[in-house]
Amino acid sequence: MREPGQHASPGTALWQDALRALDLVKLAHRHAMASDRPSGPALSLRIRSGAGPVRDAYLAILKDFLGDRTPFLRIPASISVDALIGGLDVAATLQAGRPLSERGVLSRATHGVLLVPMAERLPVAQAAILARALDTGTVTDRQGRSHPAHFLLVVLDETRDGEEEMAGGLTDRLVLDICLDGISIHDMKPDGSACSDSQADAASPQPDQLPPIADDALALLAHITGQIADSSLRKLSSAARTARLLARLDDTSEVTAAHLQEALRLCLRIGEIQTTDYTQEDDQAPADPETGTGPPPQSTGETQETPDTQEPAELSLDDLFAEMSVSSETASREIVEALRNPMAGRANAKAKTGKSGARKTGSARGRPIGLTPRPPYDSARPDIAATLRAAIPWQRLRNPDLALHGWKAGMKIHILPSDFRYVRYRHRTESTAIFTVDASGSTALSRLAEAKGAIELLLGDCYVRRDQVALVAFRGREAEVLLEPTRSLVRAKRSLTGLPGGGPTPLANGIQRSLELAAQVRQRGQSPLIVYLTDGNANISLKGEPNRRQAATDARKLAQDGAFRGFQSVFIDIAPRPRPAAQELAKAMQADYCTLPYVSASGVSRIVSRYLAGRA
């Protein structure tokens, strides 16, 4: 059992946690191998980290663990639904002259590992299929046949702060959740494997006999997971299971408080060491090379004392309860904070956004706009007439009979994969209206209330158009995203209660935030529409200094930048007496300018609706 506090650096502690997760994976894998029927859902692992040597090394250890015979499949981030579930292999079928189906990746990964890189880019449909496979252990192919799909899912989550997130249905089902960011290459020990082979062997492969978890321990877990917002029962279930696996790994007869603590850290990241907080601890690092490498002494089972003598202090359930309640509160506060402030740390977003992010794959519906030899979207079906038309000119070359004797009834047409023609469609893309609201000054409260009303009205009738709405408010020294792009009225209502208002006007900040958000929206393949609700009277510069002239220059520069990047915007002037400066600003951002001296929710919603509906 390892305590995070006893290590030299937080990076090492994180690395130890990560290795511990691997030990669990190994144990679960052995269990799965030992029994002919898989017991319970397979373990799954979410690795939060950017690409880098640490992650590569980690995956290499995982691969070594499992050996060569275990399937280890890495799927491309842009995998099609067909490739996941399997179906008719058209090329092979044509070649063989009889229907041949190919096995999907999910069924091929059975008893092995399925690695999903860049999971945050995985489309909802593919995530839903993965989630279902995790639930049922089976996958249904295109022909409706069911195949076993019992695999260890390893998800590489490269989400940065505030960028798009993985599909919720999938994240909820993942069991272990570790983070490799903040581990430097020096933190990794060469003899990384904490769990020797012999130890895992000693932990006899009897999956039915995991150490039990006591009722009060389970109640404690339930309490702690219940504290976290949006925590579902699945998380509780996976924490309980992890704690039991940990106890098995340590060969104790019962789940102890330390196991619970570790399980919470590995599954829910509660009580994880913050790499940034690392300041002292130098004096008490014992640098014990044997930490956890040897099997702990056998416990006889009549006590729940932790046998590990290196434990700094014995944890009781009550201590843990107090400690964990606090840390789960901080955790939830951090989550809330992260939700409120998703753009933190994205200063250089501008450099990498542009038209390239707005790529749109072919659409499966809409107006047909022409033919293409390549499938425009997953599982597109060839257009029969166009395919035949493409194939017929080649028949003389492909069929010698035809060249010699001419066409006869009953002759077969030779069609090659290159003849396939598909219909391309185009449809209107989804829009996201980003409201950028001036929350400064004395009229802030009523203006915000009306903006809020407008958002709710728009959401109230946006299901048909599938539009989304976001809200950026600026006041005081900074701008913040109060509502991330959402289609959900429920969520909007919750985040819009109690908006703050008043103070000076950091207009440039507001524009910058909105542009960043718009770039994000475009990266997701939707078209952003920025709606500014302000009088255009900036008095705080981008740096946060009260300097009216600098503030105006900053705002104009950013406005031009937005126009240059092609974001469509609407400028609603809400000043009682509109001034030419605001009009100029609107011109700089190439926005449509309208005045609305008496802001009303229905007025704003009407204007924005017109823009959203009018886009082709």
């Binding site: 017991s39 249904t140 249905g169 109640a219 699945r234 519906r365 997953d378 029969i384 429920v490």
Partner: protein
């Protein structure tokens, strides 16, 4: 998958379980919509239904789930010369995955046959497989619009019409639609919302004992599905018998005028458009009485199904902070007060 989690072993969530049973008893109800947090047993409950439903007599090799007396005109097996072998099989519960394409849902030209033998044959889709059974759409709020339209049309008419690729096919597709989703990820179009007969909101249980019990049972199930199934089999069979009996008696359950008047009164007070609200109330009340083994729908039956039958039909007011369930219960209280006052 051979043993789904037993229905009777699901802890709590009584409203959801109740709604699913009502829908199973009365196919005319128009399905159930389950909206709520993640990990509340939505999918588990739907998959568990499979263990409760009576078996259907199906012809071997038939892809349309035809009935014996009225086979689908396109089914080559049931319309063939030879009398097909029929056997009892579980009621189909068909999963409609999110990434599904239109031709997979409603069926399309059989490309294999078209390319290999030049034959123009129809390959039935998921709707044909769901005929006489259930169609389960997880994350229904994320489903593509054009699919939603298609489902709406088929669910309302009970017939799947395919006009594409030179095919003209119509075959019966009567199924009970069950949708689930998380409202935080997106709303459902009101048109689709209205088509579901019943709608229930589910939430994670708050008290620790319930949460612990859920995890305990789940764990026991995962450890040994077979023995867990045996433990709960008796309870499941009891529910199954109740469904069977209810299905049998439901045509003769009597709905007195008093109950109908109450249903109409509720709908008028809540401003529910159209008559679908009253019809659903009546059918749900009848199913409720039949499940209870009574032959007459009482006022209490109507009141107990009113929240799930009406709360999704209220005209949505985006600026109203209180949920629609609260509005329904308020009106129910009013009505109850009045009837008590009159008596």
């Amino acid at each position: 998958m051979t043993h789904p989690f037993p229905f009777s072993a699901i802890v709590g969530q009584d409203e959801m379980k109740h709604a699913l049973l009502l829908a199973a008893v009365e196919p005319g109800l128009g399905g159930v919509l389950v909206f709520g947090d993640r990990g509340t047993g939505k999918s588990t409950a739907v998959r568990a239904l499979a263990g409760l439903l009576p078996e259907l007599s199906l012809a071997d090799g038939c892809q349309y789930n035809c009935t014996e007396e009225n086979p689908s005109p396109h089914c080559s097996v049931c319309n063939g010369e030879a009398h097909p072998q029929r056997s009892l099989r579980p009621t189909p519960i068909v999963d409609l995955p999110l990434g599904v394409t239109e031709d997979r849902v409603c069926g399309a030209l059989d490309l294999e046959k078209a390319l290999l033998s030049g034959e123009r044959a129809f390959e039935p889709g998921l709707l044909a497989r769901a005929h006489r059974g259930f169609l389960y759409i997880d994350e229904v709020n994320l489903l593509e619009d054009h699919l939603v339209d298609l489902l709406l049309d088929v669910a309302a008419s009970g017939v799947n019409v395919v006009e594409r690729e030179g095919l003209s096919v119509r075959h019966p597709a009567k199924f009970i639609m069950i949708g689930s989703g998380n409202p935080e990820e997106g709303e459902l179009r009101p048109q689709l919302l209205d088509r579901f007969g019943l709608s229930v909101d589910v939430g994670s249980p708050d008290d620790i004992e319930t949460r612990v019990e859920v995890v305990r049972r789940r764990d026991a199930y995962e450890l040994n599905p077979v023995s867990f199934h045996e433990t709960w089999q008796a309870a499941d069979l009891e529910i199954r018998d109740a469904i069977l009996i209810a299905k049998k008696v439901i045509p003769s359950v009597n709905v007195p005028d008093e109950s109908l008047r109450l249903a109409a009164d509720l709908c008028i007070r809540l401003g529910v458009d159209g008559l679908r609200g009253e019809l659903t109330l009546m059918r749900a009340g009848r199913a409720h009485a039949a499940l209870d083994g009574r032959m007459e729908v009482t006022v209490a039956d109507i009141l107990s199904v009113a929240p799930m039958a009406l709360c999704h039909r209220l005209r949505r007011d985006p600026l109203d902070e209180a949920g629609s369930v609260a509005r329904v219960t308020r009106v129910i209280d009013e009505v109850v007060d009045q009837t008590v006052g009159h008596a």
